[in-house]
Amino acid sequence: MAVEQRPEVVNLPHVEPEPEHEDALKRIWTDPTGPWGWTANVQNGPIAKRFMATVFAFFLIGGVEALIMRTQLATPNNTFVTPDVYNQVFTMHGSTMMFLFAVPMMEAFAEFLIPVMIGTRELPFPRMTAFLYWTLLFGAIMFNASFLFRSLPDSGWFAYTPLSSVPYSSSLGIDFWNLGLDVAQIAAIGDAFEIIVGILKTRAPGMSLRHLPVYLWSLLVMGFSMIFGFTPLFICTLMLNLDRHWATHFFDSSAGGNPLLWQHLFWIFGHPEVYIMFIPATGLISMIIPTFARRRLVGHTLVVLSMVATGFLSFGLWVHHMFSSGGVPPLAMSFFTAASMTIAVPSGVQMIAWIATLWGTRPRMTTSMLYSIGFIVTFVLGGISGVTLAVVPWDWQVTDDYYVVAHFHYVLIGSLLFGMFAGLYYWLPKLTNRMFSEPLGKWNFWVTIIGFNIAFFPMHFSGLLGMPRRVYTFPAGAGLELPNLVSTVGAYILGVGVLLFLINFFWSTVLAHGRETGINPWGAGTLDFATESPPPDEGYRVMPIVHSLFPLWDQDRLDEGDPETVRLVHALEQSPTHYRATLITSLAEGIPEGVLRMASASRLPLLTSIGLAVLFAGELFGVHAVTIIGLSVMIVGIWLWLWPPIVEREFQLGDNGGPTVHGLPVYHTGARAPGWWAMLLVLLTISVGSACCIFSYFYLRATVPDWPPAGITRPDLALPIVRNVLLVVSLAPAWWALRAIRRDHQVQLQLSLVLVLTCGVAFVAATLAEILQWDPNLQAQAYGSIFYLLQGIQLLIIIIGLLIGLFCLAQASLGYFNRWRHLAVQNLANYWTFATIHWLIVAAVVYVSPYIL
């Protein structure tokens, strides 16, 4: 088979800057230094390093917990730890690995790689990047603070109710788990916004969707999956918290609730969670294999579509985690069996594409490449055992035994851990400017993969022999001694493998024994290897122009293209804006549309994140004053964070036409503006959360005969009709405000905003008046719980809308808006429209449906 391979060395078509231009760019883009400056840093590179270091530390903690478990299970009837401690350790291990290591590590890769790979200067919302890091850190600390209080969660990483409800888990352990992870989930959802908007709107000129590297496609799928996956988790953990501390009954079967509702909501998150980790890991592998095979990825389009299809299909499999829970008819289970098997098709397409890419080549067997091959082999093994678990009778046979443990470790370690190591060996030198030791790396790989297989392959057999998971010991004489002892030995070998990575990292990078990385050490073809190592704060001095999927392989220079674009990228380098800025490009074709002003270094993200952590800590300990303080700090932090800086106000002066930089507009509205996309994603997230609540409403409705339950009167419709009218009427001034500012009518704008706020305040007042009329018996039933929840979410949506309205009014009264600059007003109009439609749906569900269903 003839194979067209790329040359070994790829020269960088680099543009040398004039020194004075370089100084100007550096002055604009450099963050404060030193420990105090560290707290204000918003650059993606340093934050990605922190992200990686932090989540790797949690990975080590989770690993130590795994070794404690394996030590306990080395011999039958062992007493290394007590049953209670064992319960706590396996809960902490699973939760730490899933929530604090796996997904955040993929987020860390994304934060580092997106700007350099799409050829831009920075992620679109730099302060958000900093906020997400601090939020994850505080959430993880709060979660692990359960060690200090000697109150660890012990209900397993999926915390099934009623085991995690108060009657069976009355300690604070579950609350640490619940609220700590809620904070971490906020970080994940925020990261999704950053990823999606960054990739869709700030790519290099010419980088159309067909020139988008596979890894970036995988991140798009990951981003949307995080919105659709983490939001249900947020809702179900919110419900659990309300059940535990606010006397609701979502999961209390004695009051019309249903514990299976938890399982549905959790697994609607939990199964896609696997793909949230797996898909970006496949993206990493799809970048690494072509580089070392020196050949383009075979079937690029099919690989991309496989990722998209896998992302969709992953949300249709959750019931296969509940085959043995009861409550799902066999015919319905068959649908999920079919879907679970179908997902093997797109996964298989990716495997075949990688093998076809390698076929007939002589790839460079670097450590990164070895891990990529380890990824393929291990994931295929885990995938095959996964297909067997889609078969209902087999699933019933092996549920909750070590066969399942073996399966998901083959999937997770195979994809995530090996994908991570492949990625770290490939890209970490870029971030640190020090190459790893290859001999030590190969030792690291072989010890890790051998240890992994010794640890987990025997678990298939211990499972088939009937060993249940989550039990702290096993009896002698059941044939389980040998496989368990072998697994324990393997776990320690795996631990040595991870230790070898750490040694390699410290030797090569911290002690700087590794050689300098240079620009493109592997001869890669994509933009991530087009800048210095580590990439400078400004990313690219001259922003690249892309004409190919592998621009470093196919293009002679990175600054060639149509004359207008060439002029633009050079102008941005030679005469940079006096604030941080990058290009906005069109969604499909990557055509420059405008200049995006980016936020500079700030401590407001840290302040906001502290507010969020304090809010949740207050909730954790039931101190409402602390909760209110945290909330206030958050609101102030966000307000100051979003308040337009002086430089934008300067633009407003004296512009009769639209203000431009190098011929491109600087103010944007509609689909051109990244802020418009961010608002769209916020609304999408709220929609997903509300859809989960409405699903819960009808799920609870379907499991009881009477709705509302006997003794509770149907809600009166008078005040809800008033609330309907108020919101529908308020739509008119919301859109008038936008119309007014598009015509530069400042007074009309302010009057319209005041009208919107008045209607919103009246809606809140009507809601409070209605609450006084609600049947007090509502509090005793799950019907009342879901009724309250939907009403509460609507109230929250309106209150947030009021804050946005106030924010707009404050700016409007200072004359900050004009016909060019009014994105905040447009976002308010969109938000208010959404809030109204949301209310009409909620009202139909809670007020009308009881009369019909």
Binding site: L305, F312, L313, P329, A332, F335, T337, A339
Partner: protein, 113 residues
Amino acid sequence: VNSSTDTTSTRWSLWFTFLCGPFAWTAHEFLSYALVRPACSYGVLILEYIVTLAALATVGGGLYLALRIHHGTFTDPPTTPHFLAIAAIVLNVLFGYAIVMEAIPNLVVSPCL
């Protein structure tokens, strides 16, 4: 980009056909699941068949539209609309297959089990 293909209607059609298959499959799975108990209670499995036929019709429509756009956007070198058209064709075929896979149990498993 070929200006004749880069029209707003083509762009919307492309995104519609791109998402047609996934959304048809999602609706099919959720509705099929929700209709199992009514199918048993009222003895009308035909509801399940109607859902499947509607989902397949949607996918078929998406596939037809994608094929038309594919023929209309073929240029050398290929354009982004052409890339998206190929993507839409493949996605519609894959999700059509998934719908058929999910419909088969309706033929052999009773909803009342």
